[in-house]
């Protein structure tokens, strides 16, 4: 039984990684799961300099999920390389670094800084965080802006680049095609859906940022639909995510056309979720006599 997949020339032992920002760089989940078992570890977003993020409250629960407005707090690329990449050196898994910025130059700075880091296998470009006001999201919501930033990053990146798309768009296929045409090696989707919660007793917003990105099982149908639409529209591989908590969820994305999948907010609900998804996919393949997971990619009829 083969669970190996390949994205932009990078081989994964299985198609399961984690949603950026839900797993740190693996350190905090190391005592729950064996990181060596993951197809890849995707880091929390990292910028050229440290970002303080948003005021609290930053997280709140909603029906079947949560809203977050962390605001991409991160220690900056220097600390990240010294501490997080060093930590990951000992592990036999792919490392995907999620890159964020406020201007194209910010992104390019991080991408160049990482170009000689051997431990970095792929770059995921976060152009879709809904919680940062400075405009990063605009790259993910306008096709022309997405084209421009993708081209520019592609010029400087040594590793394959995965463009992470926002679901807060009218037509996901337009964005997917723009990224592909601009040279993206892969896509990941969906980032969180912008949501809001109001405390009716205090008459205030539940989050200091007013809005937050929604994640969790509640958003899965929207994510599956967008992954399917994107997979129909482009040829580059897709990493599917949005509400994946179980192997059944992951398989929906794979059947819809995702080559790999990310477990996101489910890590908060069940710290063993990643491993359970991997084992559950294997069980499904065994039960259904699927020899190669590639036979499942986009196999919905």
């Amino acid at each position: 039984m083969k669970t190996e997949i390949e994205i932009a020339g990078v081989k994964w032992k299985n198609p399961v990684t984690v949603g950026s920002g839900t797993f740190g760089s693996g350190m905090e989940y190391d005592e729950f799961v064996d990181l060596n078992k993951l197809g890849a570890v995707t880091s929390k977003g990292v910028a050229n300099i440290p970002w303080p993020g948003n005021p609290t409250p930053r997280v709140t629960e909603v029906y079947g999920g949560m809203l977050n407005a962390i605001g991409l707090q991160n220690p900056g690329i220097d600390v990240f390389c010294e501490r997080d990449l060093k930590f990951l050196e000992g592990y036999d898994t792919n490392v995907i670094v999620n890159v964020c910025g406020k201007s194209i130059q910010d992104y390019v700075d991080v991408v160049e800084r990482l170009s000689d880091e051997k431990r970095v296998d792929m770059l995921e470009i976060n152009v879709s965080c809904p919680n940062v006001k400075e405009g990063a999201i605009a790259f993910g919501q306008k096709a022309e802006a997405l084209t421009e930033i993708t081209k520019e990053i592609k010029k400087h990146a040594k590793q394959p680049i995965i463009m992470k798309l926002s679901p807060n768009v009218t037509d996901i296929t337009e964005m997917a095609k723009a990224a592909e045409a601009a040279g993206a090696d892969a896509l990941s989707l969906i980032n969180t859906i912008t949501g809001m919660k109001i405390d009716i007793n205090k008459k205030t917003f539940a989050l200091a940022n007013k809005t937050g990105g929604m994640s969790g099982p509640a958003i899965k149908p929207v994510a599956v639909r967008m992954v399917y639409q994107a997979a129909q529209a482009v040829k580059i591989p897709i990493i599917g995510m949005g509400g994946i908590a179980t192997a059944e969820d992951a398989l929906e994305f794979i059947l819809a056309g995702a080559t790999a999948v990310s477990v996101g907010a489910a890590n908060f609900i069940n710290p063993y979720a990643t491993i359970e998804v991997i084992e559950g996919i294997e069980d499904y393949m065994r039960r259904n006599k699927v020899d190669d997971i590639k036979d499942l990619i986009g196999a919905v009829k």
């Binding site: 920002g21 839900t22 797993f23 740190g24 905090e28 989940y29 005592e31 729950f32 929390k44 440290p50 970002w51 303080p52 993020g53 609290t56 409250p57 930053r58 997280v59 709140t60 629960e61 029906y63 079947g64 999920g65 949560m66 977050n68 962390i70 707090q73 991160n74 220690p75 900056g76 600390v79 969790g216 099982p217 907010a265 890590n267 908060f268 609900i269 069940n270 710290p271 063993y272």
Partner: protein, 267 residues
């Protein structure tokens, strides 16, 4: 080692309106100490995140944890319905508690306000047990100041086993009328160090008081949490100095705390 596990409810009863007292059997109990907390998962599939609840007592020999909590929302309302024998998923043990070694030979004032009282019980008990092992001048003096809304003085008898207990109540029905700071003033309580848990206005007052008296105050903070293990960066507090993890003066309450030296955090 932290883990998610299914605990068995050994008993549950109500201590006061909306306040519940639950004993859980779970093997993580052996790792628990004062000031730490666990995440408790609702079974209701609309409410998925674990609820952080502080440890009121830990009994390693019986693998048992005591939680005393207030019903504040759907999750805690659900927990309050469970009975002896029911199972409940928990994540723990989480966070860093109070460092007892710093309290040796000191006059320690334990201050708890409302649902911040329960962790003071485990702390009082641990200090009491530590005293048993120490020479006379290393022992801590245990002074407990707790603030209630009214005369429903839950955990008072338990606390009295370990130290002198002073009480404040908002409606003045028991002890000093007002909050714990009013009780400290009225009773002219002196201390070398403070350990506290309670609502933010109380913690701010304690920070100010400790600063004026030039004594350390270890305070336990609360914030909305998602992961509980330091990954999501949901529950941060501004720190005076750049902290080792975030590098942006944002310590994680769940992992770097929940107990902080008051002067280190901006609250």
């Amino acid at each position: 080692m932290k883990k998610k596990t299914t605990a068995k409810i050994l008993s549950q009863k109500s201590l006061a309106p909306g306040i519940y007292d639950m004993w859980l059997e779970c093997d993580i109990a052996k790792d628990a100490s004062a000031g730490q907390f666990i995440g408790v998962y609702p079974n209701d599939k609309s409410t998925l995140l674990p609820r952080p609840i502080s440890i009121c007592e830990a009994d390693a020999s019986k693998s048992a944890l005591r939680l005393v909590y207030r019903v504040a929302g759907k999750g805690t309302a659900e927990f309050s319905q469970y009975k002896e024998g029911d199972g409940l998923d928990v994540l723990g043990v989480l966070g860093n508690g109070y460092d007892l070694s710093l309290l040796k030979g000191k006059r320690v004032m334990l201050m708890g306000g409302g649902i911040g009282i329960p962790p003071m019980l485990e702390l009082a008990k641990e200090l009491f047990c530590q005293n048993e092992q120490l020479s006379i001048n290393e022992k801590s003096e245990i002074i407990i100041v707790v603030g209630y809304r009214d005369d429903k003085t839950f955990l008072k008898e338990d606390l009295e086993k370990y130290g002198k207990v002073y009480i404040a109540s908002e409606d003045g029905s028991v002890g000093t009328k007002g909050n714990v700071m009013n009780a400290v003033e009225a009773e002219e309580i002196e201390a070398d160090v403070i350990c506290a848990c309670g609502p933010m206005p109380m913690l701010r007052a304690i920070k100010k008081f400790a600063s004026e008296k030039n004594i350390p105050a270890y305070i336990s903070l609360e914030e909305h949490m998602a992961c509980g293990v330091g990954a999501c960066l949901g529950c941060v507090v501004k720190t005076k100095e750049v902290d080792h993890h975030s590098h942006v003066n944002n310590a994680r309450i769940c992992t770097d705390g929940p107990v902080f030296l008051a002067e280190d955090v901006e609250i």
